[in-house]
C-alpha cells in the first residue's frame, strides 16, 4: 500500500512557512528603514537589539570604587541616549552587582554573556576582573575594566586576550610615568607598604621593578591585610626604616588607616603612592591634615582643570552623590570610548571593534565625552596625559602634568 500525500495539510504548512518568512523579513525591512540603510551610515546603523544596543555592567555595588564607576557610566549613558544614542541606537544598560566576590562576579559575567551584550563595562576591582574576564574572552565580547593589576593586560598571563581594555592606566604604565618623578625629587631609597591582594601586590611588584630599574633601593617591604584598620605595628616598622621616602599602595580604607596612624606617630618622611593615596575619596576619610603632603601619580584626577566643567555637570546629574573621583571619570569616559569606536567603524561589529581600537588614538575633537585624548596599545592598555598630584590643606593639587608616553610602537603596535 502506498501512502498518498495529504495536499491540504501540505498547503497549510507551506502557507504558514511563507507567513513566518515574510514576518521575519518584514522585521528586517523595518529595521533597515529605521536605521536608514544600515551599516556604514554616519548617524544610524542596524541596532543589535531592535532599536537599542545592550551593554553589560558587572560592578562592585558594595564598594565605593564600584559605586563611583556606576555613577559615571550612568551619566554618560543618559547623555548619549538623550543625544540620540550610538548610531541611532539607544544604550540599554544591564547593571549587575558582583558583591565583590570573584566567584560571584564570574557567574554574573557568564549569565550576562547569555544575553549577548555588545560590550562589558566592568568590573573595577582587580581581584574580580582577573577571574571574570575569562568569560568575556570566551564569548569574544570586548570588556572594559577599571582594574589596574598588570596581569590583566599581560598577554603571557591572560591567554592572549584580544578583548580586554582598560579604562585607566595599568600599574605598570603608571609606574613608568611616576618613578622618574620620584627619582627627580632626590629619592635614592624607599620603603614600601602595600595591601596584600591582587591590586596591592600587583602594584607593589610593578613599582618595585620600576624602582630597581631607576636605581632606587627598596628597603622595608611591608604588607597589610585587606580591611586592616589598625596599622600601628606596620607604621612603627616604617618609622625605623632607612628609606628617604615611603611608597604606599593600598585601597581607600587601608590607606586612610595608614595616613591616620602615620600622622598619629608624627612621622614626616615624604609619602608617594598609587592614585588612591591622594584621591578625594581617601582625603574624605582621614583625620584633618593626615593626607597633606602626600604625592601620587593620578591617571585621572577630578581636580584637574580639564575636568572642571564635567564636574559641574556631574554634580547636577547626581545631586545627592559624593564628589566624583577617578573611578567616576573612568566610568564616564569609557562609554564614550565605545561610542567613538563604534562610530568610526560605522556598525556594531565585535570583531571590527577589537581591530579598530587596538593601536588607535581617539581624540576629544572627535568625541568630547572622552575628556582627554586617549590611545590604546596592542594589549588594551591606555596611554594619555596624566598628573602628579600633591595634597595641600586637604585638597589635591596638580603639581605637574605628565605627557603621554607616546610609545605605541613599543607596545604591541
Amino acid at each position: 500500500m502506498t501512502k498518498r500525500p495529504c495536499w491540504s495539510k501540505l498547503a497549510v504548512v507551506l502557507v504558514a512557512g511563507a507567513l513566518v518568512v515574510s514576518a521575519c523579513g518584514g522585521d528586517d525591512g523595518d529595521d533597515d528603514e529605521a536605521s536608514g540603510g544600515g551599516g556604514g551610515d554616519d548617524t544610524t546603523a542596524e541596532c543589535p537589539d531592535g532599536d537599542s544596543v545592550l551593554m553589560a555592567m558587572p560592578y562592585e555595588a558594595n564598594q565605593p570604587a564600584g559605586e563611583n564607576w556606576r555613577l559615571g557610566i550612568e551619566m554618560a549613558v543618559s547623555e548619549i541616549n538623550e543625544a540620540g544614542g550610538i548610531l541611532g541606537c539607544e544604550i540599554e544598560l544591564d547593571a549587575q552587582d558582583t558583591q565583590t566576590d570573584p566567584d560571584v562576579s564570574r557567574q554574573v559575567v557568564a549569565d550576562q554573556v547569555e544575553d549577548d551584550p555588545f560590550v562589558f563595562l566592568g568590573t573595577v576591582l582587580s581581584s574580580n576582573t582577573i577571574v571574570n574576564m575569562v568569560e568575556a574572552q570566551r564569548a569574544e565580547i570586548p570588556m572594559f575594566v577599571g582594574a589596574e593589576a598588570p596581569a590583566i593586560t599581560d598577554r603571557d598571563e591572560n591567554g592572549d586576550n584580544d578583548f580586554i581594555y582598560r579604562a585607566s592606566f595599568g600599574v605598570d604604565t603608571a609606574s613608568d610615568k611616576f618613578v622618574s618623578y620620584i627619582a627627580d625629587q632626590g629619592v635614592e631609597s624607599i620603603d614600601v607598604i602595600y595591601k596584600n591582594d591582587e591590586f596591592g601586590a600587583g602594584g607593589r611588584d610593578a613599582y618595585v621593578a620600576a624602582f630597581d630599574e631607576a636605581g632606587i633601593d627598596v628597603g622595608l617591604d611591608i604588607q597589610v591585610q585587606p580591611d586592616q584598620t589598625d596599622q600601628s605595628a606596620e607604621v612603627t616598622q616604617l618609622a625605623g626604616g632607612d628609606g628617604d621616602a615611603i611608597f604606599v599602595f593600598m585601597t581607600e580604607i587601608e590607606t586612610a588607616a595608614f595616613l591616620d596612624e602615620y600622622q598619629s606617630q608624627g612621622l614626616d618622611k615624604p609619602l608617594y603612592g598609587g592614585d588612591v593615596l591622594s584621591a578625594a575619596s581617601t582625603i574624605a576619610l582621614v583625620q584633618p591634615g593626615a593626607a597633606d603632603g602626600t604625592t601620587t601619580h593620578a591617571g585621572l584626577n577630578a581636580s584637574a582643570p580639564v575636568f572642571a566643567e564635567w564636574k559641574e555637570a556631574y554634580a547636577e546629574f547626581h545631586p545627592d552623590a559624593d564628589p566624583p573621583d577617578h573611578n567616576s571619570i573612568k566610568g564616564y569616559t569609557i562609554v564614550h570610548v565605545v561610542k567613538e569606536t563604534v562610530e568610526q567603524i560605522g556598525e556594531f561589529d565585535n570583531s571590527k571593534f577589537s581591530d579598530t581600537l587596538h593601536c588607535a588614538t581617539l581624540t576629544v575633537d572627535d568625541e568630547p565625552g572622552l575628556l582627554l585624548d586617549v590611545s590604546y596599545d596592542g594589549n588594551g592598555d591606555i596611554d594619555r596625559e596624566s598628573y602628579i598630584v600633591s595634597v595641600v590643606n586637604g585638597v589635591g593639587e596638580i603639581v605637574e602634568t605628565v605627557p603621554p608616553l607616546d610609545n605605541l610602537d613599543e607596545r604591541g603596535c
Binding site: 565605593p64 589598625d230 605595628a233 625605623g240 582621614v286
Partner: protein
C-alpha cells in the same frame, strides 16, 4: 624597649574596643544563653546612626525672622548636633532596637528553655546580613569619616608617640567595664542579674524577676555596643561592612578569655589586641589575624572554658 611599649600601648587601645565587644558577647551568653553573630553589625549600625544624627541641623520650628540669639538665628537651622549629642540620642534608640526589639522578636521566639540554640545562631547570621545590606542600600557603600571625640592631639612621653584617641579609648573602655563590674557586683539589680544568669530556676524560686533581668542584660549590651561604636568608628570609619571583622574578633576574644565570664571576655579582648600588634610588628602583618585564631584553637583544644572561664557541666 620603647618600641615594645609603643606597640603594646597601641594594642591595648585596640584591645579595649575588642574587650567591650567581647563583654557584650559574654553577657548575652551568660544571661540568656544567646550567641549573637550580628554583634559586629550591632556596633556598625549605631556608628552610622550617630553620624547621621550628628550632621543634622535641628530647628525649633520657629520662623526665620525670629531674632538672632547668642550669634545663632534660632528661627533657622541650628548648628549641627555633633557626635556627643548624637551619641546620647542614639543610646535610647539602641536600647529600644538592639536591646528590647532584638530580644522579643528573635531571642524569645527562638531560644526556648532546654531547647536548641542553633536556630538563634542561624537567625543572628541572617540578621547580620540584613543589617549590612540595609546599611549599604540606605547609606551607600562609601565609608564615611567619623571624627574622634578625643581630638587629634599627640604627645611623645619618653619618645613614645601617643595619640589622644588611643588614650581616650583606653580610659573610657576601662571606666565602662569597671562601672559594669561594679554594677553587677555591688548593686542589688546587678546581683539579681548574675543570679539569673547562673541559675534561672533557683533565681525564680528566690523571687527574682528573671525575665526582667534578662531584658536589662540586652539593654546593657545595647549601651555597650553604642559606646564601642563611638570609640571604634574613628578607626574603622562608619561603613556598612565594618561589623564583619568586629564580630569575628569579639567572638575570638570571648572564646579565648572565657565565654561565661565577663572578666574572661575582657582579658580576651586585650589579649587579642596585643597579639595582633605584636605579631604584626615582630613577625609580619600576614600573621596578625592568624595568631589570635591559632590561640583560640589551642584554647578550645586544651581549655574549652577559656583561659579565665569556669568549666560548666551540663546534664544530658
Amino acid at each position: 624597649m620603647s618600641t615594645f611599649i609603643q606597640i603594646s600601648f597601641s594594642g591595648l587601645a585596640t584591645g579595649a574596643i575588642f574587650a567591650l565587644a567581647a563583654v557584650g558577647f559574654a553577657l548575652l551568653w551568660q544571661t540568656a544563653g544567646a550567641i549573637n553573630f550580628a554583634h559586629g553589625e550591632f556596633i556598625a549600625l549605631p556608628a552610622v546612626i550617630m553620624l547621621i544624627l550628628g550632621e543634622m541641623q535641628p530647628t525649633l520650628g520657629l520662623p526665620d525672622w525670629v531674632p538672632v540669639v547668642g550669634g545663632t538665628a534660632i528661627g533657622g537651622p541650628l548648628p549641627e548636633m555633633g557626635i556627643i549629642v548624637a551619641f546620647v540620642l542614639t543610646i535610647p534608640l539602641a536600647v529600644l532596637v538592639l536591646g528590647w526589639l532584638f530580644k522579643v522578636s528573635l531571642v524569645d521566639r527562638l531560644l526556648t528553655p532546654g531547647g536548641d540554640d542553633i536556630p538563634l545562631v542561624i537567625a543572628s547570621l541572617g540578621l547580620a546580613l540584613m543589617i549590612r545590606e540595609y546599611l549599604r542600600v540606605e547609606f551607600g557603600a562609601a565609608p564615611k569619616q567619623f571624627e574622634s571625640v578625643f581630638g587629634n592631639d599627640r604627645w611623645r612621653p619618653g619618645g613614645i608617640p601617643v595619640s589622644a584617641d588611643d588614650v581616650g579609648v583606653l580610659v573610657v573602655c576601662v571606666l565602662v567595664i569597671l562601672a559594669l563590674q561594679l554594677f553587677l557586683r555591688r548593686t542589688s539589680t546587678g546581683r539579681q542579674m548574675e543570679a539569673a544568669a547562673q541559675s534561672p530556676t533557683t533565681a525564680r524560686v528566690l523571687g527574682i524577676p528573671v525575665g526582667r533581668m534578662v531584658l536589662y542584660t540586652f539593654a546593657i549590651n545595647a549601651v555597650l555596643v553604642t559606646v564601642a561604636a563611638l570609640l571604634v568608628a574613628p578607626t574603622t570609619h562608619a561603613r556598612w561592612d565594618a561589623g564583619i571583622s568586629l564580630s569575628l574578633v569579639a567572638f575570638t576574644a570571648a572564646i579565648i578569655g572565657g565565654f561565661n565570664q565577663v572578666r574572661g571576655a575582657l582579658i580576651g579582648g586585650f589579649l587579642v589586641g596585643l597579639l595582633q600588634n605584636w605579631s604584626g610588628y615582630y613577625l609580619s602583618s600576614a600573621y596578625r589575624e592568624a595568631i589570635p585564631l591559632l590561640l583560640m584553637i589551642l584554647v578550645i583544644l586544651w581549655r574549652p572554658q577559656g583561659l579565665f572561664g569556669i568549666a560548666e557541666e551540663r546534664r544530658i
